[in-house]
Protein backbone atom coordinates (compact mmCIF):
# COMPACT_ATOMS: atom_id res chain seq x y z
CA UNK A 1 0.00 0.00 0.00
CA UNK A 2 1.36 3.42 -0.85
CA UNK A 3 0.30 7.03 -0.97
CA UNK A 4 -0.10 6.66 -4.72
CA UNK A 5 -3.69 5.52 -4.13
CA UNK A 6 -4.47 8.87 -2.51
CA UNK A 7 -2.69 10.79 -5.24
CA UNK A 8 -4.60 8.77 -7.84
CA UNK A 9 -7.89 9.56 -6.10
CA UNK A 10 -6.95 13.24 -6.02
CA UNK A 11 -6.02 12.93 -9.72
CA UNK A 12 -9.54 11.65 -10.42
CA UNK A 13 -11.05 14.59 -8.56
CA UNK A 14 -8.81 16.90 -10.57
CA UNK A 15 -10.07 15.32 -13.79
CA UNK A 16 -13.67 15.78 -12.62
CA UNK A 17 -13.05 19.45 -11.94
CA UNK A 18 -11.16 20.09 -15.16
CA UNK A 19 -13.68 18.08 -17.17
CA UNK A 20 -16.65 20.21 -16.10
CA UNK A 21 -18.20 21.73 -19.19
CA UNK A 22 -19.21 25.32 -18.68
CA UNK A 23 -21.55 25.66 -21.62
CA UNK A 24 -24.16 27.25 -19.39
CA UNK A 25 -26.53 29.87 -20.73
CA UNK A 26 -25.81 32.88 -18.52
CA UNK A 27 -22.56 34.82 -18.05
CA UNK A 28 -23.15 35.20 -14.33
CA UNK A 29 -23.33 31.45 -13.85
CA UNK A 30 -20.48 30.63 -16.23
CA UNK A 31 -18.08 33.18 -14.71
CA UNK A 32 -18.86 32.04 -11.17
CA UNK A 33 -18.38 28.38 -12.02
CA UNK A 34 -15.06 29.19 -13.71
CA UNK A 35 -13.89 30.85 -10.50
CA UNK A 36 -15.17 27.95 -8.43
CA UNK A 37 -13.22 25.58 -10.67
CA UNK A 38 -10.04 27.53 -10.05
CA UNK A 39 -10.58 27.53 -6.28
CA UNK A 40 -11.39 23.82 -6.10
CA UNK A 41 -8.14 23.09 -7.97
CA UNK A 42 -6.25 25.11 -5.37
CA UNK A 43 -8.05 23.18 -2.61
CA UNK A 44 -6.87 20.02 -4.33
CA UNK A 45 -3.30 21.35 -4.31
CA UNK A 46 -3.51 21.67 -0.52
CA UNK A 47 -4.49 18.00 -0.20
CA UNK A 48 -1.72 16.96 -2.59
CA UNK A 49 0.81 18.85 -0.50
CA UNK A 50 -0.44 17.14 2.66
CA UNK A 51 -0.30 13.74 0.98
CA UNK A 52 3.25 14.32 -0.18
CA UNK A 53 4.13 15.52 3.31
CA UNK A 54 2.85 12.36 5.00
CA UNK A 55 4.57 10.33 2.33
CA UNK A 56 7.94 11.67 3.54
CA UNK A 57 7.36 10.29 7.05
CA UNK A 58 8.67 6.79 7.67
CA UNK A 59 5.44 5.04 8.57
CA UNK A 60 5.96 1.29 8.90
CA UNK A 61 2.79 0.41 10.83
CA UNK A 62 0.29 3.23 10.34
CA UNK A 63 0.46 4.17 6.70
CA UNK A 64 -2.95 2.65 6.03
CA UNK A 65 -4.64 4.89 8.60
CA UNK A 66 -3.13 8.01 7.07
CA UNK A 67 -4.11 6.85 3.61
CA UNK A 68 -7.67 6.27 4.79
CA UNK A 69 -7.92 9.72 6.38
CA UNK A 70 -6.58 11.46 3.27
CA UNK A 71 -8.82 9.35 1.03
CA UNK A 72 -11.90 10.40 2.97
CA UNK A 73 -10.91 14.05 2.42
CA UNK A 74 -10.51 13.37 -1.31
CA UNK A 75 -14.00 11.83 -1.38
CA UNK A 76 -15.51 14.76 0.48
CA UNK A 77 -13.93 17.19 -1.95
CA UNK A 78 -15.29 15.19 -4.87
CA UNK A 79 -18.78 15.40 -3.33
CA UNK A 80 -18.35 19.11 -2.73
CA UNK A 81 -17.40 19.60 -6.36
CA UNK A 82 -20.46 17.66 -7.51
CA UNK A 83 -22.73 19.66 -5.19
CA UNK A 84 -21.69 22.79 -7.08
CA UNK A 85 -21.19 21.63 -10.65
CA UNK A 86 -24.01 19.11 -10.76
CA UNK A 87 -26.50 21.24 -8.82
CA UNK A 88 -29.90 20.48 -10.33
CA UNK A 89 -31.47 23.85 -9.65
CA UNK A 90 -32.41 25.70 -12.85
CA UNK A 91 -29.91 28.27 -14.12
CA UNK A 92 -32.54 31.00 -13.85
CA UNK A 93 -32.11 30.88 -10.05
CA UNK A 94 -28.72 32.50 -10.70
CA UNK A 95 -30.52 35.41 -12.40
CA UNK A 96 -32.73 35.97 -9.36
CA UNK A 97 -29.85 35.96 -6.85
CA UNK A 98 -27.63 38.01 -9.13
CA UNK A 99 -30.32 40.66 -9.36
CA UNK A 100 -30.30 40.99 -5.57
CA UNK A 101 -26.53 41.42 -5.49
CA UNK A 102 -26.67 43.89 -8.37
CA UNK A 103 -29.31 45.92 -6.57
CA UNK A 104 -27.68 46.03 -3.17
CA UNK A 105 -23.89 45.72 -3.49
CA UNK A 106 -22.16 49.03 -2.95
CA UNK A 107 -18.88 48.33 -4.71
CA UNK A 108 -18.87 45.33 -6.99
CA UNK A 109 -21.19 42.43 -7.44
CA UNK A 110 -19.84 39.41 -5.55
CA UNK A 111 -19.40 36.05 -7.27
CA UNK A 112 -21.51 33.18 -6.05
CA UNK A 113 -22.43 29.63 -6.93
CA UNK A 114 -25.51 27.64 -6.03
CA UNK A 115 -24.89 24.24 -4.47
CA UNK A 116 -27.03 21.28 -3.58
CA UNK A 117 -27.15 20.47 0.14
CA UNK A 118 -29.49 19.28 2.85
CA UNK A 119 -30.60 22.74 3.83
CA UNK A 120 -30.64 26.38 2.81
CA UNK A 121 -27.45 28.06 4.03
CA UNK A 122 -24.73 30.44 3.00
CA UNK A 123 -21.01 29.77 3.13
CA UNK A 124 -17.96 30.26 0.92
CA UNK A 125 -15.30 28.06 -0.63
CA UNK A 126 -12.60 29.42 1.73
CA UNK A 127 -14.84 28.69 4.74
CA UNK A 128 -15.49 25.15 3.55
CA UNK A 129 -11.77 24.62 3.04
CA UNK A 130 -10.95 26.02 6.48
CA UNK A 131 -13.53 23.75 8.11
CA UNK A 132 -11.86 20.76 6.49
CA UNK A 133 -8.36 21.88 7.38
CA UNK A 134 -9.28 22.01 11.06
CA UNK A 135 -8.90 18.26 10.84
CA UNK A 136 -5.44 18.45 9.34
CA UNK A 137 -3.94 21.67 10.62
CA UNK A 138 -1.95 20.58 13.64
CA UNK A 139 0.62 19.28 13.05
CA UNK A 140 1.16 19.62 9.35
CA UNK A 141 3.59 17.41 7.55
CA UNK A 142 6.80 19.45 7.44
CA UNK A 143 7.19 19.13 3.70
CA UNK A 144 5.31 21.80 1.75
CA UNK A 145 3.77 23.63 4.71
CA UNK A 146 4.79 27.01 3.34
CA UNK A 147 3.10 26.25 0.02
CA UNK A 148 -0.09 25.34 1.86
CA UNK A 149 -0.21 28.77 3.51
CA UNK A 150 0.24 30.55 0.18
CA UNK A 151 -2.52 28.46 -1.44
CA UNK A 152 -4.93 29.00 1.44
CA UNK A 153 -4.33 32.77 1.30
CA UNK A 154 -4.95 32.66 -2.42
CA UNK A 155 -8.28 30.87 -1.92
CA UNK A 156 -9.26 33.45 0.70
CA UNK A 157 -8.37 36.35 -1.61
CA UNK A 158 -10.33 34.94 -4.52
CA UNK A 159 -13.11 33.48 -2.41
CA UNK A 160 -16.67 33.16 -3.72
CA UNK A 161 -19.98 32.77 -1.93
CA UNK A 162 -21.66 29.37 -1.91
CA UNK A 163 -25.43 29.54 -1.52
CA UNK A 164 -26.81 26.12 -0.68
CA UNK A 165 -30.34 24.93 -1.18
CA UNK A 166 -32.23 21.96 0.21
CA UNK A 167 -31.82 19.22 -2.39
CA UNK A 168 -35.48 18.31 -2.12
CA UNK A 169 -36.38 21.77 -3.38
CA UNK A 170 -34.27 21.76 -6.53
CA UNK A 171 -37.29 21.85 -8.85
CA UNK A 172 -39.47 24.10 -6.69
CA UNK A 173 -39.13 27.65 -8.01
CA UNK A 174 -41.40 28.90 -5.25
CA UNK A 175 -38.67 28.14 -2.72
CA UNK A 176 -36.21 30.40 -4.58
CA UNK A 177 -37.03 33.49 -2.47
CA UNK A 178 -35.28 31.59 0.36
CA UNK A 179 -32.07 31.82 -1.68
CA UNK A 180 -32.37 35.59 -1.35
CA UNK A 181 -32.34 35.26 2.43
CA UNK A 182 -29.08 33.30 2.25
CA UNK A 183 -27.55 35.72 -0.25
CA UNK A 184 -28.48 38.60 2.03
CA UNK A 185 -26.18 37.24 4.75
CA UNK A 186 -23.25 38.37 2.62
CA UNK A 187 -24.72 41.85 2.19
CA UNK A 188 -25.53 42.06 5.89
CA UNK A 189 -21.88 41.44 6.75
CA UNK A 190 -20.28 43.44 3.96
CA UNK A 191 -22.58 46.44 3.82
CA UNK A 192 -22.41 46.89 7.62
CA UNK A 193 -26.16 46.45 7.95
CA UNK A 194 -25.66 45.25 11.49
CA UNK A 195 -25.88 48.92 12.49
CA UNK A 196 -29.63 48.40 12.43
CA UNK A 197 -29.38 46.12 15.41
CA UNK A 198 -28.55 49.01 17.75
CA UNK A 199 -31.97 49.42 19.37
CA UNK A 200 -33.01 45.79 19.15
CA UNK A 201 -33.04 43.24 21.98
CA UNK A 202 -29.69 41.44 22.05
CA UNK A 203 -30.78 37.93 21.08
CA UNK A 204 -28.52 35.37 19.44
CA UNK A 205 -30.78 35.09 16.39
CA UNK A 206 -31.08 38.82 15.73
CA UNK A 207 -29.24 38.73 12.38
CA UNK A 208 -31.62 36.08 11.05
CA UNK A 209 -34.65 38.05 12.20
CA UNK A 210 -33.37 41.26 10.60
CA UNK A 211 -32.59 39.48 7.34
CA UNK A 212 -36.12 38.08 7.23
CA UNK A 213 -37.33 41.65 7.69
CA UNK A 214 -35.13 42.91 4.88
CA UNK A 215 -36.16 40.29 2.42
CA UNK A 216 -39.85 40.49 3.14
CA UNK A 217 -39.78 44.28 2.87
CA UNK A 218 -37.83 44.03 -0.39
CA UNK A 219 -39.41 40.99 -2.04
CA UNK A 220 -42.91 41.24 -0.60
CA UNK A 221 -45.43 38.61 0.49
CA UNK A 222 -44.01 35.98 -1.91
CA UNK A 223 -41.10 35.60 0.53
CA UNK A 224 -43.45 35.13 3.49
CA UNK A 225 -45.28 32.43 1.58
CA UNK A 226 -42.04 30.59 0.67
CA UNK A 227 -40.75 30.80 4.23
CA UNK A 228 -43.94 29.52 5.85
CA UNK A 229 -44.44 26.76 3.29
CA UNK A 230 -40.88 25.52 3.70
CA UNK A 231 -40.54 25.84 7.46
CA UNK A 232 -43.86 24.34 8.49
CA UNK A 233 -42.58 20.91 7.53
CA UNK A 234 -40.11 20.99 10.45
CA UNK A 235 -41.76 23.45 12.80
CA UNK A 236 -39.97 22.72 16.04
CA UNK A 237 -36.37 22.89 14.90
CA UNK A 238 -34.42 25.78 16.23
CA UNK A 239 -30.78 26.60 16.68
CA UNK A 240 -28.89 29.24 18.57
CA UNK A 241 -28.42 31.30 15.42
CA UNK A 242 -31.99 31.04 14.13
CA UNK A 243 -35.20 32.26 15.67
CA UNK A 244 -37.83 29.58 16.11
CA UNK A 245 -40.20 28.79 13.26
CA UNK A 246 -43.07 30.60 14.95
CA UNK A 247 -40.96 33.71 15.51
CA UNK A 248 -40.10 33.87 11.85
CA UNK A 249 -43.74 33.50 10.90
CA UNK A 250 -44.57 36.19 13.45
CA UNK A 251 -42.12 38.59 11.75
CA UNK A 252 -43.81 37.93 8.42
CA UNK A 253 -47.23 38.45 9.99
CA UNK A 254 -46.09 41.83 11.36
CA UNK A 255 -45.12 42.90 7.85
CA UNK A 256 -48.35 41.68 6.28
CA UNK A 257 -50.48 43.32 8.97
CA UNK A 258 -48.74 46.67 8.69
CA UNK A 259 -48.81 46.58 4.91
CA UNK A 260 -52.53 45.86 4.93
CA UNK A 261 -53.15 48.70 7.39
CA UNK A 262 -51.13 51.17 5.31
CA UNK A 263 -53.50 50.54 2.37
CA UNK A 264 -50.84 51.63 -0.10
CA UNK A 265 -50.86 48.63 -2.35
CA UNK A 266 -52.81 48.59 -5.58
CA UNK A 267 -55.41 45.95 -6.34
CA UNK A 268 -55.32 42.98 -6.62
CA UNK A 269 -52.19 42.66 -4.44
CA UNK A 270 -53.88 44.33 -1.48
CA UNK A 271 -56.50 41.56 -1.56
CA UNK A 272 -53.90 38.86 -2.07
CA UNK A 273 -51.99 40.04 0.98
CA UNK A 274 -55.04 39.14 3.04
CA UNK A 275 -54.84 35.62 1.55
CA UNK A 276 -51.19 35.30 2.53
CA UNK A 277 -51.94 36.68 5.98
CA UNK A 278 -54.68 34.07 6.49
CA UNK A 279 -52.37 31.29 5.31
CA UNK A 280 -49.59 32.30 7.71
CA UNK A 281 -51.98 33.01 10.57
CA UNK A 282 -53.45 29.54 10.31
CA UNK A 283 -49.97 28.03 10.55
CA UNK A 284 -48.94 30.36 13.36
CA UNK A 285 -52.08 29.59 15.39
CA UNK A 286 -51.25 25.89 15.25
CA UNK A 287 -47.71 26.36 16.54
CA UNK A 288 -47.62 29.59 18.56
CA UNK A 289 -47.66 27.73 21.87
CA UNK A 290 -44.12 26.55 21.10
CA UNK A 291 -42.75 30.04 21.77
CA UNK A 292 -42.91 31.69 25.16
CA UNK A 293 -44.70 35.03 25.18
CA UNK A 294 -41.38 36.69 25.95
CA UNK A 295 -39.99 35.65 22.56
CA UNK A 296 -43.01 37.04 20.73
CA UNK A 297 -42.51 40.32 22.56
CA UNK A 298 -38.84 40.36 21.53
CA UNK A 299 -39.79 39.74 17.91
CA UNK A 300 -42.38 42.52 17.96
CA UNK A 301 -39.83 44.87 19.50
CA UNK A 302 -37.22 43.97 16.87
CA UNK A 303 -39.74 44.63 14.12
CA UNK A 304 -40.80 47.98 15.51
CA UNK A 305 -37.23 49.10 16.24
CA UNK A 306 -35.79 48.23 12.86
CA UNK A 307 -38.66 48.64 10.39
CA UNK A 308 -38.06 52.29 9.48
CA UNK A 309 -34.31 51.80 9.04
CA UNK A 310 -34.79 48.62 7.02
CA UNK A 311 -37.04 50.48 4.59
CA UNK A 312 -34.62 53.41 4.39
CA UNK A 313 -31.69 51.16 3.62
CA UNK A 314 -33.62 49.27 0.97
CA UNK A 315 -34.59 52.65 -0.52
CA UNK A 316 -30.93 53.65 -0.84
CA UNK A 317 -30.38 50.90 -3.38
CA UNK A 318 -33.75 49.70 -4.61
CA UNK A 319 -37.32 50.23 -3.46
CA UNK A 320 -39.25 48.50 -0.72
CA UNK A 321 -41.89 46.23 -2.23
CA UNK A 322 -44.91 48.45 -1.50
CA UNK A 323 -43.30 51.52 -3.10
CA UNK A 324 -41.98 49.48 -6.00
CA UNK A 325 -45.42 48.11 -6.75
CA UNK A 326 -47.11 51.52 -6.60
CA UNK A 327 -44.40 53.02 -8.81
CA UNK A 328 -44.72 50.13 -11.23
CA UNK A 329 -48.45 50.72 -11.51
CA UNK A 330 -47.92 54.44 -12.12
CA UNK A 331 -45.36 53.78 -14.86
CA UNK A 332 -47.68 51.27 -16.47
CA UNK A 333 -50.49 53.84 -16.64
CA UNK A 334 -48.12 56.40 -18.16
CA UNK A 335 -47.04 53.98 -20.87
CA UNK A 336 -50.65 53.22 -21.69
CA UNK A 337 -51.43 56.92 -21.95
CA UNK A 338 -48.36 57.83 -23.98
CA UNK A 339 -48.31 54.75 -26.19
CA UNK A 340 -45.30 52.74 -27.31
CA UNK A 341 -46.27 49.60 -25.41
CA UNK A 342 -45.24 47.54 -28.44
CA UNK A 343 -41.55 48.25 -27.70
CA UNK A 344 -40.23 45.76 -25.18
CA UNK A 345 -38.17 48.36 -23.33
CA UNK A 346 -41.36 50.31 -22.61
CA UNK A 347 -43.34 47.39 -21.32
CA UNK A 348 -44.27 47.58 -17.67
CA UNK A 349 -46.27 44.65 -16.41
CA UNK A 350 -48.44 44.48 -13.33
CA UNK A 351 -49.33 41.49 -11.19
CA UNK A 352 -52.68 41.24 -13.02
CA UNK A 353 -50.94 41.30 -16.42
CA UNK A 354 -48.64 38.47 -15.34
CA UNK A 355 -51.61 36.45 -14.09
CA UNK A 356 -53.34 36.96 -17.47
CA UNK A 357 -50.21 35.90 -19.34
CA UNK A 358 -49.92 32.81 -17.14
CA UNK A 359 -53.49 31.81 -17.96
CA UNK A 360 -52.64 32.26 -21.64
CA UNK A 361 -49.48 30.15 -21.18
CA UNK A 362 -47.12 32.93 -22.27
CA UNK A 363 -44.09 33.79 -20.09
CA UNK A 364 -43.54 37.50 -19.44
CA UNK A 365 -40.50 39.73 -19.15
CA UNK A 366 -41.79 41.18 -15.88
CA UNK A 367 -39.58 42.05 -12.91
CA UNK A 368 -38.98 38.98 -10.67
CA UNK A 369 -40.74 40.68 -7.76
CA UNK A 370 -43.85 41.03 -9.91
CA UNK A 371 -43.62 37.47 -11.23
CA UNK A 372 -43.28 35.80 -7.83
CA UNK A 373 -45.96 37.97 -6.24
CA UNK A 374 -48.37 36.99 -9.01
CA UNK A 375 -48.69 33.61 -7.32
CA UNK A 376 -49.73 34.63 -3.84
CA UNK A 377 -53.52 34.70 -4.11
CA UNK A 378 -55.47 31.87 -2.52
CA UNK A 379 -56.29 30.55 -5.98
CA UNK A 380 -52.62 30.66 -7.06
CA UNK A 381 -51.46 29.00 -3.85
CA UNK A 382 -53.35 25.92 -4.98
CA UNK A 383 -51.48 25.95 -8.28
CA UNK A 384 -47.94 26.01 -6.97
CA UNK A 385 -47.56 22.28 -7.44
CA UNK A 386 -48.55 22.63 -11.07
CA UNK A 387 -45.44 22.15 -13.25
CA UNK A 388 -46.83 24.78 -15.62
CA UNK A 389 -46.42 27.43 -12.92
CA UNK A 390 -42.79 26.44 -12.36
CA UNK A 391 -42.01 26.51 -16.07
CA UNK A 392 -43.77 29.85 -16.39
CA UNK A 393 -41.65 31.44 -13.64
CA UNK A 394 -38.37 30.08 -15.04
CA UNK A 395 -39.19 31.13 -18.59
CA UNK A 396 -40.34 34.53 -17.39
CA UNK A 397 -37.04 35.11 -15.61
CA UNK A 398 -35.25 34.11 -18.80
CA UNK A 399 -37.36 36.54 -20.83
CA UNK A 400 -36.79 39.33 -18.28
CA UNK A 401 -33.03 38.69 -18.48
CA UNK A 402 -33.14 38.87 -22.29
CA UNK A 403 -35.15 42.07 -22.11
CA UNK A 404 -32.55 43.66 -19.85
CA UNK A 405 -29.73 42.51 -22.13
CA UNK A 406 -31.58 43.98 -25.10
CA UNK A 407 -32.24 47.29 -23.33
CA UNK A 408 -28.60 47.49 -22.30
CA UNK A 409 -27.33 46.68 -25.78
CA UNK A 410 -29.68 49.21 -27.33
CA UNK A 411 -28.55 51.83 -24.81
CA UNK A 412 -24.92 51.17 -25.63
CA UNK A 413 -25.58 51.38 -29.37
CA UNK A 414 -27.45 54.63 -28.82
CA UNK A 415 -24.63 56.11 -26.76
CA UNK A 416 -21.98 55.20 -29.32
CA UNK A 417 -23.80 56.88 -32.24
Amino acid sequence: MSFDVVLNALGSVENHIKGVLLDVPYDVKRESLERAKELFLKWLDVYKTYTNGYRQELLARTQRHTIRMLSSFANDLDNQVRDVFEARIASEAYLLVNNLFKSFSRVSRPSFVLAEDREFKQTSIATLLNDKLKNLTVPRPVIGSANVDVTIRDVQNKDIIVICYDQGQFDNVFSWPLLLHEAFHYLYANERLDRLAKDCPKVSWLEEALIDMYIINYFGPAYALSLATYLQRFPHEKTISHPSFTSRIFIALQYLKKTQEAKKLPLPVSNHIADVFDYLKRIWDQHKEADPLEVQEQVAKIYDSAEKDVKEIISEKAQPFAEFLSQNEKKRQEVFQKGGFEYIENQVLSVSDVADYFRAGIPTAADPRIVFNSFISRQSQEMINDPKAHIFVKESLKKWHLKNAWVEAKGQAHRST
Partner: protein, 121 residues
Amino acid sequence: MGMEERKRLSIQNIIGRVTHGLVGMDIFLNERRGNDYLKDFLTLKEDEIKATFLSSSSKKRLIPSDEAKLTDEENAFIVCIVKTRELIARIDRIESTKEIEDCINELGSKMDIIYAAIPER
Protein backbone atom coordinates in the same frame (compact mmCIF):
# COMPACT_ATOMS: atom_id res chain seq x y z
CA MET B 1 -24.11 24.71 9.13
CA GLY B 2 -26.54 21.92 10.02
CA MET B 3 -26.24 19.60 13.00
CA GLU B 4 -25.32 16.59 10.87
CA GLU B 5 -22.58 18.47 9.02
CA ARG B 6 -21.19 19.84 12.30
CA LYS B 7 -21.16 16.37 13.82
CA ARG B 8 -19.51 14.97 10.73
CA LEU B 9 -16.72 17.56 10.85
CA SER B 10 -16.24 17.02 14.59
CA ILE B 11 -15.90 13.25 14.17
CA GLN B 12 -13.48 13.77 11.29
CA ASN B 13 -11.50 16.07 13.55
CA ILE B 14 -11.30 13.40 16.26
CA ILE B 15 -10.31 10.76 13.73
CA GLY B 16 -7.67 13.15 12.37
CA ARG B 17 -6.10 13.51 15.82
CA VAL B 18 -6.31 9.78 16.54
CA THR B 19 -4.59 9.17 13.19
CA HIS B 20 -1.88 11.57 14.34
CA GLY B 21 -1.56 9.57 17.55
CA LEU B 22 -0.99 6.42 15.52
CA VAL B 23 1.48 8.19 13.22
CA GLY B 24 3.26 9.68 16.25
CA MET B 25 3.69 6.28 17.93
CA ASP B 26 4.94 4.80 14.66
CA ILE B 27 7.52 7.57 14.30
CA PHE B 28 8.48 7.14 17.95
CA LEU B 29 9.20 3.46 17.35
CA ASN B 30 11.43 4.37 14.41
CA GLU B 31 13.24 7.33 15.88
CA ARG B 32 12.85 6.94 19.66
CA ARG B 33 11.86 10.58 20.17
CA GLY B 34 8.70 12.51 20.98
CA ASN B 35 7.05 14.42 18.14
CA ASP B 36 4.31 16.92 17.28
CA TYR B 37 1.91 14.16 16.16
CA LEU B 38 1.87 12.80 19.70
CA LYS B 39 1.27 16.28 21.11
CA ASP B 40 -1.67 16.68 18.74
CA PHE B 41 -3.17 13.40 19.93
CA LEU B 42 -2.84 14.50 23.56
CA THR B 43 -5.16 17.47 22.86
CA LEU B 44 -8.03 14.95 22.67
CA LYS B 45 -10.15 15.00 25.81
CA GLU B 46 -12.57 12.31 26.92
CA ASP B 47 -15.42 14.79 27.48
CA GLU B 48 -15.00 16.32 24.04
CA ILE B 49 -15.18 12.93 22.32
CA LYS B 50 -18.24 11.89 24.33
CA ALA B 51 -20.00 15.18 23.55
CA THR B 52 -19.28 14.75 19.84
CA PHE B 53 -20.70 11.27 19.66
CA LEU B 54 -23.72 12.23 21.72
CA SER B 55 -24.56 15.23 19.56
CA SER B 56 -26.77 13.30 17.16
CA SER B 57 -29.49 15.43 15.72
CA SER B 58 -32.70 15.50 17.76
CA LYS B 59 -34.77 15.50 14.59
CA LYS B 60 -33.77 11.93 13.93
CA ARG B 61 -35.28 10.83 17.21
CA LEU B 62 -38.85 9.65 17.19
CA ILE B 63 -39.22 10.42 20.87
CA PRO B 64 -37.42 13.67 21.69
CA SER B 65 -36.99 12.78 25.37
CA ASP B 66 -35.19 9.59 24.44
CA GLU B 67 -31.79 10.10 26.02
CA ALA B 68 -28.85 9.82 23.66
CA LYS B 69 -26.43 7.04 24.58
CA LEU B 70 -23.01 6.01 23.37
CA THR B 71 -22.87 2.79 21.39
CA ASP B 72 -20.67 -0.05 22.63
CA GLU B 73 -18.20 0.67 19.81
CA GLU B 74 -18.01 4.36 20.71
CA ASN B 75 -17.46 3.50 24.39
CA ALA B 76 -14.70 1.03 23.50
CA PHE B 77 -13.06 3.64 21.26
CA ILE B 78 -13.07 6.23 24.06
CA VAL B 79 -11.65 3.74 26.57
CA CYS B 80 -8.91 2.89 24.09
CA ILE B 81 -8.06 6.57 23.55
CA VAL B 82 -7.80 7.11 27.31
CA LYS B 83 -5.54 4.08 27.58
CA THR B 84 -3.38 5.38 24.71
CA ARG B 85 -3.10 8.79 26.40
CA GLU B 86 -1.72 7.07 29.51
CA LEU B 87 0.75 5.13 27.41
CA ILE B 88 1.94 8.21 25.50
CA ALA B 89 2.37 10.11 28.77
CA ARG B 90 5.06 7.60 29.79
CA ILE B 91 6.28 6.68 26.31
CA ASP B 92 9.88 7.81 26.97
CA ARG B 93 10.11 5.26 29.79
CA ILE B 94 8.68 2.26 27.92
CA GLU B 95 11.30 -0.36 27.25
CA SER B 96 9.32 -2.91 25.27
CA THR B 97 8.25 -1.85 21.79
CA LYS B 98 5.57 -4.54 21.88
CA GLU B 99 3.40 -2.49 24.23
CA ILE B 100 3.38 0.40 21.76
CA GLU B 101 2.82 -1.88 18.79
CA ASP B 102 -0.15 -3.53 20.54
CA CYS B 103 -1.57 -0.11 21.30
CA ILE B 104 -1.25 0.92 17.63
CA ASN B 105 -3.06 -2.25 16.56
CA GLU B 106 -5.84 -1.91 19.09
CA LEU B 107 -6.48 1.80 18.51
CA GLY B 108 -6.25 1.31 14.74
CA SER B 109 -8.84 -1.46 14.74
CA LYS B 110 -11.20 0.55 16.99
CA MET B 111 -10.87 3.51 14.63
CA ASP B 112 -11.78 1.33 11.65
CA ILE B 113 -15.15 0.71 13.33
CA ILE B 114 -15.65 4.37 14.13
CA TYR B 115 -15.23 5.36 10.48
CA ALA B 116 -18.64 3.82 9.95
CA ALA B 117 -20.11 6.31 12.47
CA ILE B 118 -19.37 9.32 10.28
CA PRO B 119 -22.75 10.55 9.05
CA GLU B 120 -23.20 10.29 5.33
CA ARG B 121 -23.32 13.48 3.33
